[in-house]
């Protein structure tokens, strides 16, 4: 499973990071790092919860 990161839409809510800090990594300002995310096997449900928590809809399962 991959997650498409719409980096320009991130406003730094960090809701994804608070659920799954190992999957969703932030820069020093608290915004998501650019680039799509390859989700490790077994972490799909957690990753999906992270995607669904984004108020800006900056994350998308692809």
């Amino acid at each position: 499973m991959k997650i498409k990161v719409h980096h320009g839409m991130c406003q730094g809510h960090a809701r994804c990071y608070s659920l799954a800090p190992d999957i969703f990594q932030l820069d020093d300002s608290g915004y998501i790092l650019p680039g799509d995310i390859a989700v490790p096997a077994g972490q799909e449900p957690l990753a999906q919860r992270g995607v669904r928590s984004c108020p800006e809809r900056a994350l998308e399962v692809s």
Binding site: Q11, D28, G30, R49
Partner: protein, 409 residues
């Protein structure tokens, strides 16, 4: 009577069918109400009437606003910063002093240079480093009343937590807490005259603090601002003052209100309280759900030019209110929005706003709430409203609770 006239002023471009008798300040549940539920009281707007309407007297000083009720429409406003400016000149209107609160009242693209400076100070990682101090403060407060078997949450816990963080940020001694509480109380909940006086007092305090730190820098927030640069130049005094004042405006009442509403909920929903006691991992999602259900603020924007949205003519100068507590109970966004489900998944609430002005302090506020609930539930046995006591809730500019007496065996 002037106030009477203000209630009935509807601009010519507003069609009568879109005018609604609605106010955050007047009427049942918005005025101080025993055991009220001000957020729930407003969710009726999703069941009847237009999704976008005009409320002729909907600010503390009697101005009319548009009210955008759905999450989708609020997103459209908050993302369109070219049309909907957040520079309302709050202090200019109130005090005659041109003092934009930074970065709240600065529109993109300028906004981003201030956010780039301030974001790292309040990032999730930085907040990790502040957690120990927040926990220690919470523990000290709780241990101060635990043996009594009772506490008044707002004075004994919620405000001291909120003000403690704030004073720590400013490097100001904790013994000035009551003074700050008084200013906050008058500014957010006082009469018009009290509000203006409190605003002036806060501005003067910050001015003198800036002057002090300029001569004797410490490792506090103001000293950081004095040493900081944007676009290769130091911040101006006005910019520093704008940031410092915003910290006061945004960080006190809101955090205290959230602590109050969360404990009010747990005191009156023993099944939720027990679930959190049984499974501490639920505290995090519960805090998010309680942010959703008990959101306290509205985003207010000013149209800088005429604009048509979904067939509605909005004129330059119109105020547009985007209440979080209403969008967060939008049935198109949240299944069973009036049901509070502390394990709710898929919870894209906007209690901390949305778009570029997303609350700068949101990560710190979350952590304060999580730490506060963790320690409260660990150290205090099953609690309930103190028999014979009546919490008073209210609406207004920041929704809140006046008093919350709890007791435990």
């Amino acid at each position: 009577m002037a106030t009477r006239a203000a209630e009935t002023i509807v601009p010519d471009h507003v069609p009568p069918s879109l005018v609604r008798d609605f106010s955050y300040f007047r009427g049942p549940e918005m005025e101080p109400t025993p055991c009220g539920h001000p957020q729930a009281a407003l969710s009726f707007v999703h069941r009847e009437g237009p999704a976008i309407f005009y409320a002729p007297n909907n600010t503390y000083d009697g101005r009319g606003t548009w009210v955008f009720t759905t999450a989708e429409d609020q997103r459209a406003v908050l993302n369109n910063t070219d049309v909907f400016s957040s520079n309302r000149g709050i202090f200019k209107a109130a005090l005659g002093e041109d003092l934009p609160m930074v970065p709240l009242e600065v529109d993109p693209p300028n906004h981003m240079k201030y956010r780039a400076l301030l974001n790292p100070l309040l990032s999730p990682k930085r907040v990790d480093a502040m957690e120990a101090g927040a926990r220690e403060r919470a523990v000290r407060l709780i241990e101060g009343f635990r043996a009594k078997g009772t506490c008044e949450v707002m004075n004994d816990f919620a405000f001291p937590v909120a003000v403690g963080v704030f004073l720590q940020f400013l490097g100001v001694s904790d013994d000035r807490r009551d003074e700050f509480l008084g200013w906050a109380n008058e500014q957010f909940h006082g009469t018009l005259e009290q509000r203006l006086n409190a605003m002036r007092t806060v501005v003067d305090f910050m001015k003198s603090l800036i002057a002090l730190r300029r001569h004797e820098p410490t490792d506090d927030f103001v000293s950081f601002l004095l040493a900081a640069e944007v676009e290769g130049r130091p911040l101006t005094d006005k910019e520093i003052l704008g940031v410092a004042v915003l910290l006061f405006e945004a960080g006190l009442d809101t955090v205290a209100a959230a602590v109050g509403f969360d404990l009010y909920h747990l005191a009156t929903h023993p099944e939720d309280q027990q679930r959190l006691r049984d499974d501490k991992d639920l505290i995090k999602p519960a805090v998010e759900e309680l942010f959703r259900a008990y959101s306290t603020i509205q985003m207010l924007r000013t149209a800088v030019r005429d604009f048509e949205y979904k067939g509605i003519a909005i004129k330059a100068g119109d105020l547009i209110s985007c209440p979080t507590m209403i969008a967060n109970r939008d049935p198109a966004e949240f299944p069973n929005p009036d049901t509070i489900d502390i394990a709710r998944d898929n919870n894209r609430h906007t209690a901390f706003a949305y778009g570029p002005h997303r609350c700068l302090g949101s990560h710190l506020a979350r952590r304060e709430l999580i730490v506060g609930l963790e320690e409260f539930l660990t150290r205090i046995p099953t609690f309930r409203l103190k028999p014979g006591s009546t919490p008073i809730t209210y609406g207004g500019y920041v929704f809140g609770i006046e008093n919350l007496d709890l007791s435990w065996a």
